[in-house]
Amino acid sequence: MIDNNYDFTLIKAGLLVDGNGGNNLHKASVLIQNGVIKFVGNQESVVAPEGASVKVLDYGDKTILPGLIDCHVHLNGIGDGRVGNDLVTLPDEVLTLQSAKNARKHLYSGVTTVRDCGAKNNTTFMLRKAVEMGITISPRLILTGRPISIVGGHLGYFGEEATGEVECVKSVRKLIKQGADFIKITATGGSTITSLPFRPSFTKKEIQAITFEAHKMGKHVAAHCSSSEGIINSLDSGVDTIIHGYHVESDETFNYRPEITEKFIKNGAFLNPTLFQGRKTVEVLELKQNQGYLTRIESEMLETAKYRNEKISEIVSKMVSDGVQLACGSDASWTYYKTGDFQSEIFAHVSVGLSPMQAIVSATKDSARSCWIDDKLGTLSENKIADILVVDGDPTEDINNLRNVVDVISNGEVVDRENFI
């Protein structure tokens, strides 16, 4: 609810983590006007202009940091283990309902911006319209609508299969016309039954046509890559974010390729490694195993997931230590990873070598940079939108403190996290 009775909102907190990765500020204040941060500093220095009416939110010894930015969600997802091929059989109305539910859950858990990396038909565009109409609430939505896929490729069932440069360009233009903020492509196969996860999908020429068109329109491109050839094709064609980015050869063997890391660094591309996705699968299946009812298929799935998680962690750790920049994105609610728990992916970033501070940056500033929204979001600094997370405890000391959410502030307003209407 917008409170129009005050000219300014002044937020006070014991600790401020601004998202830039530098030193924390103690006894800090943020002054907000019309949902925009006007001033950040210590409590003595931040004052509203004389005579102005100020609403004060004093969080005592709590910590404030930028609202979390999850650069990879699937709002359509249910997170109960079902694969995309099954998800897509649900009607659009049902998927839109699910999207609204996921969006709300994520917002209440501290995520103030999400980038949706692929949904069926117009469901996420419809969600955005409903939010604009005041029917439901959600984090800021950075949308692609439908991912562009080759015929039979990963996520092609969502409704945007394209072949050849002309069709690819057409898809980009069509999506942008419908309201896409960025373009997601699937540069290799994935869990989609008809696709081949260890083979590239689009040709370089097709990807180049997509990135050229998207960039021309001021939109960035993110590519799903679950194997090396797709990563190389994407990086060579100017893709801005590589999703998953696992170094896997077409024979399914993991093989770290330094040239990929070099290309990442040369291009300044982001890696969104989606580490927790596979770990969640193991968590869920192991729980089932302990309860003693794992099917044969699930047993196999568990063994594969364990092996893959280990290899993926190794490779991502190597990429990180070699200088690849990470953008944090959960991939929820895909497979078993439900929305409302972005923190788990941030913690996973710590597990591959990031400090808690770096992990926070990967989920705020760098996530914003990868989404091309860092001019407005991602740090607590002047002229940025006042999306703020209030937590209990210092998350740069102990990253687990990110779970102790006290308040979520979006656009300078405290979100009622108990609003279920």
Partner: protein, 429 residues
């Protein structure tokens, strides 16, 4: 795992069947059902040495979950016309419906009869609820109302002509999951329709009711003029909605002969009084903000007089023994879901006693929907849908608004913050 048994205590239990509240009683819930209602001592003896949750509402009144026989979940209740709602994409209307469903549930309405949404939006919402992805009250659905071309709510997708088409449409609605068949037998607010004239010819209407009956489904007709009511009586319709006595020239004329037939028939009447008053309230509120224009004053006067007339006619119907039930018609026009009790209060004003008014939104409403075998009262074998309220509704029916807790299907509903539950409340000017 929580124990599946729950013992519910309250200072008073108004079970819906009797005017005399039960005191020192408790309700025993097992799973989603009521398994016993008896003296506290007796209930505690039953559960002795067993695992159970104690829900102690001492100081409060326990009543059956309420039943609203007439809702529009696609609607906004902000004055916009159905013609405008119909332009909104199905996905968005489904989202609105879900929100309205939660509002209804949070306000103590545990069963709704939806009276006409666009396309399959409500069926899709129910799918989501049934698969556990959403929450909402029990739903008695009709799908898009059966309408003539250009008739009322035809824009929602159910325009049909002739015996063949109407029969086919009824079958397709039932296939989709319709629990009853809603027919717009006169025009309404729909721009292309004529509220004073009947819609379907008798052979068409008869074909609809016959086909519905064959499948054990009830029928309900929207009637904004007397001819529509007569048509409905002639074809054995189970509920007359609005039940407005107006001649084809627009004059108000209470037809005692028609009312008598209504009283003798099995049909329930859903007078939708407050939806007429809601417009007047909004205009009055506007008048408090700024000076109304001449035209607005004229309209305001019209709406007030219309409401007064409906109230008088409803009083007469009640006096003659017509079975009147609560169906809010929200969120239609200016009437938002979550405020069903405004309608119950109007029925109370029209002459129902407090207990009759209470029953009009509980047991009688459930009977009107043919759902009284499972909901509408607190009785053994029925669903554990109950509302905890502050204040005795048999003293002041308005106390039904003071919802403290909602138990649905044997589970406490988390209704969220007080602020959010204030957001849908509509108060008098």
């Amino acid at each position: 795992m929580r124990p599946s048994k729950k013992v519910v205590l309250a200072s008073q239990i108004i079970d819906g069947t009797s005017m005399d509240p039960l005191k020192d009683h408790a309700v025993l819930i097992e799973g989603s059902n009521i398994v016993k209602i008896a003296k506290k001592i007796e209930i505690f003896q039953i559960v002795e040495n067993q695992e159970y949750d104690l829900l102690d509402y001492t100081g409060f009144v326990l009543i059956p979950g309420m039943v609203d026989c007439h809702t529009h979940h696609n609607g906004f209740g902000d004055g916009r016309l159905g013609d405008e709602i119909a332009k909104i994409p199905d996905e968005i209307l489904t989202l609105k419906s879900a929100s309205n469903a939660r509002v209804a549930l949070f306000s103590g309405i545990t069963t709704i009869r939806e009276n006409g949404p666009k396309n399959k939006t409500m069926f899709r919402l129910r799918d989501s609820i049934q698969s556990g992805k959403e929450i909402g009250p029990r739903m008695n659905l009709c799908g898009s109302p059966v309408s003539i071309i250009g008739g009322h709510m035809g824009y929602f997708g159910g325009e049909v002509t002739g015996v063949f088409e109407v029969t086919r449409y009824v079958r397709s609605l039932i296939k989709e999951g319709a629990d009853y068949i809603k027919i717009t037998q006169t025009g309404g607010t729909t721009k292309t329709s004529s509220p004073l004239l009947p819609a379907f010819n008798l052979d068409e209407l008869e074909a609809i009711t016959k086909e519905a009956k064959k499948f054990g489904k009830l029928t309900a007709t929207h009637c904004l003029s007397t001819e529509g009511i007569i048509n409905s009586l002639d074809t054995g319709v189970d509920m007359v909605i609005h039940g407005v006595f107006k001649e084809p020239d627009g004059t108000d004329k209470f037809r005692e002969d028609v009312a008598e037939r209504l009283a003798e028939s099995r049909a329930f009447v859903n007078p939708t009084l407050h939806v007429f008053r809601a417009r007047a309230w909004e205009m009055e509120k506007l008048g408090l903000q700024r000076k109304l224009t001449k035209n607005e004053i004229k309209l305001f006067d019209q709406h007030r007089r219309n409401f007064d007339q409906r109230l008088i006619d409803c009083s007469k119907m009640i006096e003659m023994g017509v079975k009147v039930i609560t169906g809010s018609d929200s969120s239609w026009g200016d009437y938002k879901l979550g405020n069903t009790i405004h309608e119950t209060e109007c029925i109370n004003m029209a002459g129902y006693s407090n207990f009759q008014s209470f029953q009009s939104v509980t047991l009688e409403a459930a009977k009107a929907l043919d759902m009284d075998n499972s909901v509408g009262s607190l009785e053994v074998g029925k669903k554990a849908d109950m509302v905890v309220i502050k204040g005795d509704p048999l003293e002041d029916i308005g106390n039904l608004r003071n919802v403290f807790e909602v138990i649905f299907n044997g589970e406490i509903i988390n209704r969220g913050s007080k602020d959010s539950n204030m957001s849908y409340i509509q108060s008098p000017p």
